[in-house]
């Protein structure tokens, strides 16, 4: 590295390097508040690092484990959940705040009331949107929260909700500090800009678009992290990310391009991890805009696309063709038949039936950033442009800077868009509700702006139903999806990550998130 000019065996920096981990992330977080984050990088940069939830459900959605809540009792009628909170859990501190008390029931009440009460002083702070809270209907489900004792909190529900504890385990239920909020009444925006939580790390410093520094908390209620410093080195350019990994500036690299896997795998100091992940990449048609409101048009365009070619060139075969919105390893996923395959003749026939205007130009909105479910939307769009041209459909590719892009798409300014979704838990509902329900349309997460009563009926029922009936209901929902085709599901991508061999215990959530809390680093072998 800079060894030309300096003495590289400087003791100070050697020990510094041993105790620090640098993670080359692919994007900047949009927010440090897991309640408001919609992108995976925002969750990676905040949720598991800075915060904890009341309960956890890592391995299986059905198995709920204690976290900030030690134990809980559920009433007979399933409307009252009393959570016993863990004592002696401390919040972090920063330049603006030092806590004077431990975590207690007030913090839980603050966390949820901020989201459900539109009059709450902190409701409008940050983006003011709580997509997961509302997409999961928690505003209708939760009737009230009551503090019984300082370490006991009661959730009172309006109707029985079998998956309620699972919802408490999700990132958006991360517990925030009520005392910190009290201190910041005159300076509310700092609450999310300089977050305080009970998690293993504390945010030290964020240089916009450049890096995020965290230091480990020694008073963490679980085992303190083995490393002292964690740095997110924000590097959007994939070749630069790889370069940093190769030169050792970064220990871990997010989202290597599938075409880079060979270089990584053949390098003696690096490891490439492949994880099948719960995600889906799709091509959504904005069903509110003609001609995409016509089923035949959507079908015709879908038949034109070769997903084989996309899997090959965009994903370098590190993905499988998606036959449903749900990834196949997820509970409830079925393969609706018949399965769409590229068929140019059929496409042309359907276009004719739909009286397709040959001068119409289809806008394919492609995101400019790499996502876990799609390493290169622009390339994908170019392949699709080609396929569409082969059946006589003109198209063009539209893109904007990521934040601007998302904003415009949530407002429905697109004709068609290439986007995707990464799961937050193992439940099909986490996919189907935000992405395809009428509720999701109101929230802006349903990019097809599709609202189908029959589909909603199936998933609403499935949410409440006991396990044996869920399978059947989800199958009906997916069949309905298939018959209406508001999207063409494209692929389920493998989650790739590359890191140096001396990094251990880097864990991944099944949903593709990265967990640094157990990470350790051994000495590099010379």
């Amino acid at each position: 590295m800079a060894c030309l000019l300096s003495d590289c065996s400087n003791q100070n920096s050697l020990s510094l390097r041993e105790k620090s981990v640098v993670y080359c992330s692919e994007a900047s977080p949009a927010t440090f508040n897991p309640q408001q984050s919609t992108t995976s990088i925002s969750s990676d940069a905040s949720a598991k690092l800075l915060f904890d939830t009341l309960v956890e459900s890592e391995t299986d959605a059905k198995e709920i484990k204690p976290a900030l809540a030690l134990s809980w009792t559920v009433s007979q009628d399933q409307l009252h959940y009393v959570m016993d909170l863990r004592p002696h859990v401390q919040f972090g501190s920063n330049k603006l705040f030092t806590p004077t008390r431990d975590f207690n029931a007030d913090d839980v009440i603050f966390t949820f009331n901020r989201q459900r009460d539109t009059q709450h002083p902190f409701h409008a702070v940050g983006t003011g949107h709580y997509p997961f809270f509302y997409a999961n209907n928690l505003d209708y489900i939760i009737k009230d929260l009551k503090k019984i004792t300082p370490l006991q909190v009661e959730f009172i529900l309006k109707k029985p909700t079998p998956g309620f504890l699972g919802l408490l385990a999700m990132d958006f239920s991360s517990i925030q500090s009520q005392e910190y909020a009290q201190n910041l009444l005159q300076n509310k925006s700092s609450f999310d800009l300089f977050p305080i939580g009970t998690g293993p790390f504390q945010l030290e410093r964020y240089e916009t678009d450049t890096f995020i520094r965290y230091h480990a908390k020694t008073n963490y209620w679980r085992k303190a992290p083995e490393i002292q410093t964690l740095v997110f080195a924000i590097t959007q350019e994939p070749s630069l990310r790889l370069a940093r990994l190769l030169t050792g500036e970064c220990d871990i690299m997010a989202q290597p391009l599938p075409s880079q896997s060979q270089i990584i795998e053949s390098h003696k100091d690096l490891t490439l991890d492949r994880q099948p992940s719960f995600n889906v990449a799709y091509w959504a048609f904005n069903t509110l805009r003609p001609p995409f409101n016509q089923l035949k048009v959507r079908q015709a365009l879908s038949y034109a696309i070769s997903r084989h070619a996309i899997i090959n060139s965009v994903y370098n075969n590190a993905a499988i063709i998606a036959k449903s919105p749900l990834p196949p390893n997820m509970f409830g996923a079925t393969t609706p038949l018949p399965f769409i395959q590229q068929d140019r003749e059929k496409s042309k026939a359907l276009l004719k039936e739909a009286a397709w205007d040959p001068d119409f130009v289809v806008d394919i909105w492609a995101m400019p950033v790499q996502r876990p479910y799609n390493p290169d939307a622009k390339k994908m769009a170019e392949l699709m442009h080609h396929d569409l041209a082969a059946v006589g459909v003109k198209s063009r590719i539209i893109t904007y800077k990521w934040e601007v892009f998302l904003d415009k798409v949530s407002k429905g300014q697109h004709q068609t868009v290439l986007l995707g979704w990464r799961a937050d838990n193992g439940e099909p509902d986490d996919f189907l509700t935000p992405l395809l329900s009428c509720n999701g349309r109101m929230n802006g997460t349903n990019r097809a702006f599709w609202c189908d009563q029959e589909f909603d009926h199936f998933i609403d029922q499935a949410r409440q139903a006991p396990k044996e009936q869920k399978l059947q209901l989800y199958k009906e929902a997916q069949d309905r999806f298939k018959s209406q085709l508001p999207w063409l599901p494209i692929a389920h991508a493998e989650q790739l990550i590359a890191y140096r061999k001396n990094i251990q215990h880097l864990t991944f959530t099944k949903t593709g998130g990265i967990n640094f809390s157990q990470i350790s680093k051994s000495k590099e072998k010379e």
Partner: protein, 318 residues
């Protein structure tokens, strides 16, 4: 004195003009989003408000992080200067001797090489050249780090915005090492940035020197027995430099364009990179303030070079 005050007034008038242009730009950008018909009087009052705000030092804030534009400007400026100043120095310190060497024997092989290389380097597209240097020296030979300002391991407080100075000011135990790391990262960007001005200065001075040396008084100096070198350095150069100084503002323009590109390629946290990000994000409010500050800096630099030009040229002073 009269000249200085004239220049100062000129600067102020130009700044005022920029505020108007800037304001119009912002209004145009805004109107593409919302189409509220606004009376001319309202425009005037928002313009007034805009001017007042700037007077009080409020140039706006960047959208999600609420950082003040003025503050960000003064942090990013030193980072850009770390690249610009060495490039200008290199351009002159390398360009002038090369030009002199070349003109000693016009059309000799030194001259031909210098001219050929000069034209070659002048035509190099900056962004391509920067990428190639990265490929060869960073990812290929691994002599230099690949972009960025400082290794992420080092926690250095941003006090001035110039990493070289900040690392020296830092109280961390690894401050010295961080300094050398920051230094090593300046090599490739400066090499990329300095190419164009160096080639330009070399070619320009060589060409003007050649012209000047043909004047009669040169020949008479030679007849009086002055050595060739002395003639070039003492008499030729001052006259040759004059026209080059005249085109300083053009050179400065080229330099700034190149700086934006170099900062983009090497992820250098300077003004150019900042400007690009704001344009990409379509953060028009931030752009309005940022543009004002950047424009003022450019105008100031131009005024300074105008003054230098005036002082160095006795002819203008009459």
């Amino acid at each position: 004195m009269l000249f200085m005050s004239k220049q100062f007034i000129r600067l102020l008038v130009m700044l005022l003009g920029i505020t108007l242009l800037d304001f119009i730009f912002f209004e145009l950008a805004q109107s593409s989003n919302t189409l509220i018909p606004v009376s001319p009087l309202e425009y005037l009052s928002s313009y007034q408000q805009f001017l007042f705000q700037m007077f009080q030092g409020d140039f706006g804030t960047i959208h999600p992080s609420n950082e003040a534009i003025l503050q960000q400007f003064f942090i990013k400026l030193p980072a850009s200067l770390e690249l610009i100043i060495p490039s200008i120095l290199i351009a002159w310190l390398v360009g002038v001797p090369l030009a002199v060497m070349a003109v000693k024997k016009p059309l000799g092989w030194v001259d031909r090489i210098v001219q050929f290389l000069g034209s070659l380097i002048y035509s190099l597209p900056v962004f391509w050249w920067g990428l190639i240097l990265l490929i060869i020296f960073s990812t290929g030979l691994e002599w230099f780090p690949v972009g960025g300002r400082l290794d992420y391991i080092y926690d250095i407080q941003t006090q001035t915005g110039s990493a070289l100075i900040d690392t020296l000011l830092s109280t961390q135990s690894y401050a010295n090492e961080a300094f050398f790391d920051a230094l090593s990262r300046t090599f490739l960007p400066i090499l990329t940035l300095a190419m164009l001005p160096t080639a330009y200065i070399t070619l320009q001075i060589r060409s003007h020197l050649e012209e000047t040396l043909q004047y009669d008084y040169m020949k008479s100096a030679k007849a009086r027995g002055m050595s060739h070198s002395r003639i070039i350095w003492l008499h030729g150069l001052p006259n040759a430099i004059q026209p080059v100084l005249n085109s300083m503002s053009l050179q400065f323009s080229m330099l700034i364009t190149s700086t934006i590109i170099v900062e983009f390629i090497y992820s250098w946290p300077g003004l150019g990179h900042w400007f690009l990000v704001l344009v990409q994000r379509q953060d028009y409010l931030a752009l309005r303030g940022a543009l004002m500050l950047i424009a003022s800096a450019i105008l100031l630099a131009n005024t300074v070079t105008d003054i230098l030009k005036y002082w160095s040229n006795p002819r203008l002073q009459r």
